[in-house]
């Protein structure tokens, strides 16, 4: 867990939603869904989701000069402390999940793309 990467996740979400980042899909032999985006000066972010039943883990990684330098993982098990759900962990997972959704949408296209494809298929008959 890295607080700095949590802050980067919030910034990345904002820029991704504004279509200012060019995320691309990564071919991944491990079967996980992974995307990456290049910044200037050899910096790059990777984000991937691993789903196992109800469990989800999202990893955000910062790369510099072709190697990872920082990594942070958020999972969807909220954790209980003194009988109460730890809300901080819930918020953190939400931030990472929202970022992952925004990245996926920016790569595949959102509802508009689906609508267009549906129309095209309908036109074919």
């Amino acid at each position: 867990m890295s607080e700095k990467l949590d802050q980067f996740a919030r910034d990345l979400l904002e820029k991704t939603r504004a279509n200012k980042l060019d995320w691309r899909i990564m071919a991944n032999p491990m079967g996980r869904e992974e995307f990456s985006v290049d910044l200037e000066k050899e910096y790059r972010f990777h984000i991937w989701l691993v789903v196992s039943g109800e469990n989800r883990a999202i990893t955000l990684q910062l790369w510099k000069d072709q190697r990872p330098v920082l990594e942070s993982v958020a999972n969807n098990w909220p954790g209980i402390s003194n009988g109460e759900i730890v809300q901080e962990r819930v918020k953190r997972f939400r931030a990472y999940s929202d970022l992952f959704d925004a990245v996926r949408e920016s790569v595949y296209g959102g509802e508009e793309t689906m609508g267009e494809v549906e129309q095209l298929l309908r036109r074919i008959g």
Partner: protein
Amino acid sequence: MILHDLFDWSNAGVGGVGLLLTIAAIVQATGAKRAAREARQAVYHRNAADSFSEIVRLAEQFATWVECERRAEAVVQVREIVLRLARDRGEFDRFLASDADKLKDVESNCQRLADMLGQEEFPLSSSAKRDLFRDTLMIVQELSAVLGRVRAKGDQEE
């Protein structure tokens, strides 16, 4: 003759005191009855507030499971809310007034989400997630508002 008058006066006096005591007893009994009714009403209000407070707690937990994208836990929680709402709506019906209809709507929304989450995987598209988060938040808001009104009504009548 004088003795006869004395008897009449003392009889009248005893009758008057008896009447006063009877009136006092009736007044006391009426007061006690009212006090008992008010105490019963206060307990009823307290029970209603406690029940809806528990439902709000369940709804908040449901919202947390939804935010964590944990379908199985969310389904269990929302089904519990549906059952509690049906029971408490029936029990506190005369106290809820117009909120009874509102709770009926919340109950059917919860039922819809329970059916959806029970049949499908957790939605993967961000728009479906947004809809689910919005509906869940709305349920927590509605139930919290009802709880606030139930508490305010209880405070007013106490």
